[in-house]
Symmetry: C2
Subunit: 375 residues, 2 copies
């Protein structure tokens, strides 16, 4: 029988680490004391086992636990349950990495388009991409559509809804998506450059499906979804049911304290089907370190069995002036997302957005830049 490996960072006194590691293995498999188990099959094939304990520093240990893949039933929700169900409730345990054997990985088609598919869609084979957002919510639909038009005239590749824009009275979903999509298509025809509108899909599963249908009917190709908000299994279902969309994943509600961000946003979002992942860039409104942000980008682009590489989308309080620095850090295989810093230009929005696009598209990568990742 096959086993997956989950890696945890455990804080513990040295004399207790072995006991804690074994307790975690029980918690994540049979959830009962060993002495309660009379079945040899369960002892041999179901009980998870500690596969290695490595001291990282004072009172910090990396613990590898082998979990029987049979316990996941090959299902996405149950996989989460087995790798980080009850032990998410344990203090001093952090879930930091995941390694799936080939047969289990094969149950996850991952991104249906991935980085390569997005490049093909926007017709940009090598350059970094640009994205921006219509905001703030509360604006009338005509105003949101006007923002879409301006952004596309300035040359951005993808215009997404702000993630707070849902189905509110002041901009109902169906009407808004129709108007914004029309504005983007029209402006894209004028410029002759492909550009895409990504509406935000948020809601309970039934509402999501209905909104996805509306988007499909309108010819939408890219959608924005926050997987932790709608629930990772619901995200998996949505991608499965509407594989024609490029999924741009948003980190909202994703601040689970005890999962490494590179694992959650880099690996798990990708595994569940995100083609591109928006994440917090260092030095913006959020306290992410440069290392943390770059690790997410790396995880998204890394070779991983049959799972297509996804496109990193650093965001969160970024300035147009930082474009050169960010591109040198992330390399060409990234999409920079700047929203608020464009909008403060107000009546000069078109010019400011053009400046953003020009800086990104004309950037000359220095020799010390990150190497282009696997495509």
């Amino acid at each position: 029988m096959a086993w997956l490996t989950a890696r945890y960072l455990i804080e513990s006194e040295p004399e207790l680490i072995e006991k804690r590691a074994n307790a975690l293995a029980l918690e994540q498999s049979v959830e009962c004391p060993l002495e309660a188990i009379g079945s040899q099959f369960v002892l041999d094939e179901i009980v998870a086992r500690v596969d290695g304990i490595k001291e990282l520093g004072e009172r910090r240990y990396l613990v590898d636990v082998k979990i029987a893949t049979a316990t996941t039933g090959g299902e996405p929700a149950q996989l989460l349950n087995m790798i980080f169900g009850n032990c998410s409730l344990w203090e001093n345990v952090r879930f930091v990495d995941l390694d799936l054997p080939r047969d289990l990985l094969a149950r996850f088609p991952g991104p249906r388009h991935g980085m390569a598919g997005i490049r093909e869609l926007v017709g940009a084979r090598e350059r970094p991409l640009t994205a921006t957002a219509t905001k703030p919510q509360g604006l009338p639909i005509s105003e949101l559509a006007r923002l879409c038009r301006t952004f596309v005239l300035a040359g951005v590749d993808i215009v997404k809804d702000d993630h707070g824009i849902a189905d509110q009275s002041y901009s109902p979903y169906a009407e808004r998506v129709k108007a914004c999509q029309a504005a983007v298509v029209e402006a894209s025809v004028e410029t002759g450059k492909p550009a895409f509108y990504a509406p935000n899909l948020v809601g309970s599963p039934r509402a999501l499906r209905e909104r996805a249908r509306i988007a499909r009917e309108l010819g939408i190709r890219v959608v924005l979804v926050a997987p932790m908000l709608i629930g990772l299994p619901a995200f998996f279902d949505l991608v499965d049911e509407f594989p024609e969309f490029v999924y741009l994943a948003h980190p909202s509600f994703g601040g689970a304290g005890r999962i490494d961000t590179s694992l959650l946003f880099g690996k798990i979002f990708r595994l569940f089907g995100a083609d591109a992942v928006i994440f917090v860039n260092y030095g913006g409104r959020f306290a992410y370190s440069q290392e943390e942000s770059l690790s997410i980008a790396e995880a998204l682009r890394a070779l991983w069995g049959q799972v297509r590489p996804a496109l990193p989308v650093p965001a969160g309080g970024m300035l147009v002036e930082r474009v050169p620095e960010l591109l040198d850090r992330y390399g060409p295989d990234a999409m920079l997302l700047i929203g608020g810093n464009l909008l403060i230009a107000r009546e000069h929005l078109l010019e400011r957005t053009r400046e953003f696009v020009t800086r990104v598209e004309s950037h000359r990568f220095s020799k010390t830049a990150a190497p282009a990742a696997a495509r």
Copy 2:
């Protein structure tokens, strides 16, 4: 226009707290700088506002933020987005309380049965209730059914699946649920005492719906669901579509680091429809304090508009010997859940379970016990 109030605990230098509180209000509403906003309507009716900052201790502040209810669209997923979307990604911010105005609260039917409905179902008007779990996963169906039978013969009120039991090859869902339900019904007829089997529903939304249908056809009355695992909005949908079930909520995957456990398990699970909530008891396998565990129970039972009180179910490494102490702490309006500590009795499982049931049902509450909560 109405406003809801979300309360956050922010760690900050004193000179920065006002700035950080205002930044949080922007993040949770318009997500852009104020100077980017030209619309008076947005400034007046959409931008969230800080409603109070209270120093709690050194560098710790309780911050109340008023958020326009219109931004939630009256939808469960979007409510989560507005109250704890992006700011879940902020370090040093903890989401600690939520107050919904009446019109928004009315969009949430909450528990369809609640504590009173469960008492009616099991025919116990005042006494504390008992629950246990079939485990470990990996046992054949016949063995799980035999455990069900033994537990019911011993008099427990509810026998649930272990939360790790899903739809695995060694105990496929449909077959297992049929056998366990039959065993519980049969044993309950023999004893003459009502008892209920609660299968675990885990999966992506489409799988969940299918499994709920199977459970309904088998006459199942109580189900086990981990709302954070399947996603809170998917949980909301499930309760809405299958209101006849009593929902026993499990905390798996619920270790979000930055939400108070009493808010998440006590208020949000209840708001989304949990009739009873399993949570970590103090002094077991998890490092919850007594105060934390009791706060969850209090939040579940507190008066809250039209939202029915839910039943607290402390669990997690509890011993039969602790029953008197726990009942004195939680009071009679609780269901004690003990699994592993019964199962280690192996061939004496019936007797050990009887001891558990007897201790619970014959407990005489001391005068200093917690007062019976609102029913």
